[in-house]
Subunit: 210 residues, 2 copies
Amino acid sequence: MFSAQANRRSPWPTREQRAEEREAKRDAVLRTAARLFKERGFSAASLDEVAACLNVTKPVIYRHFASKDQILLECVSMGLEQILEAAADAKTIPGTASDRLLALMKRYAVIMTEDPGMCVVRTGDHELSEPSRKEFRRLKRKIDRVIRSLIEEGVEDGSIAPCDVKLTGFAITGALNWIAKWYTPNGAQSAGQVADSMASLLQGLLARRP
Amino acid sequence: MFSAQANRRSPWPTREQRAEEREAKRDAVLRTAARLFKERGFSAASLDEVAACLNVTKPVIYRHFASKDQILLECVSMGLEQILEAAADAKTIPGTASDRLLALMKRYAVIMTEDPGMCVVRTGDHELSEPSRKEFRRLKRKIDRVIRSLIEEGVEDGSIAPCDVKLTGFAITGALNWIAKWYTPNGAQSAGQVADSMASLLQGLLARRP
């Protein structure tokens, strides 16, 4: 009790405050970098610009990240982790596997309208170093597997028509990923509306047909 | 008669032969470049490598193309023109608009398994110069319009269920374009089989549902 009060009054941040601040700084660098990579492409965007957007200089960025490659990897990982998180949440939804897949597709579509998601789709494998590329591919494969397993579950519980699971999975991720290529926030529909419509439309790929 | 025979015997090529040879050389450069751009990405692939693959040196390439940017633009244009050609052919098919769209989707999917088509999908707008980027976008918009007009025709002739035409078009092109990202010729299915299955699957997006 005494020590907590002392900490609250001290002009020096606590260990927790320092960690939080550090996290906030890393996060700001990643979000700014994701936006610039998206706008100009990875090679054209410079860390000097990222730094300038945050009112600091490049050496400050290097206190948090070893290289531009590491920043790109963390940007795309942020987008991919968001999808994996959406998948984990979707798995807890009661009902059929088709319901769970629909929920995942909606969240996935929204992620594709945001900077980290756009970065995922706009980043070519060759833009990353060899070890980063491996990690990028590992995360993408993980997402492919999650989608395929939901389709398989749906075929088992009868909520999805028997199909070529791999191909259907690729059709779904292709249509969802492509949102990152065409979506602009200036359109008539909000990101949420686009996401809901796209997810419902893609259910047509799964529906039992005569 | 006499002059034709003389030409046939002359060791010098005719004007037509020279034009053909020139075309064959341009084509070889573009196909080699498309393959290398696809394999390593545009910035990593060098024109020296393209030249070496063709047993010549870079200055020979520059006799046919002004710049690496022009070569990339012509590579992606080759892929996009193939799709527009497929669309023009599809338009002549009798039957419903849904039949025509199915035929186009099959050809489109095959194009996505080949180097120029893969180049289209793997090339980011920012990798091209400003004027080339404009041309790249113009061709892509033309394809979007062709697909949308086929969907609209289908809604009119009753072969396609009423839908959000723009969104449905993007779902189709997204799923088709994504083939260029995942397809490898080492898979169990041939390009033609993948294309046929994907096109049939995507019909699910267009089907009249209860």
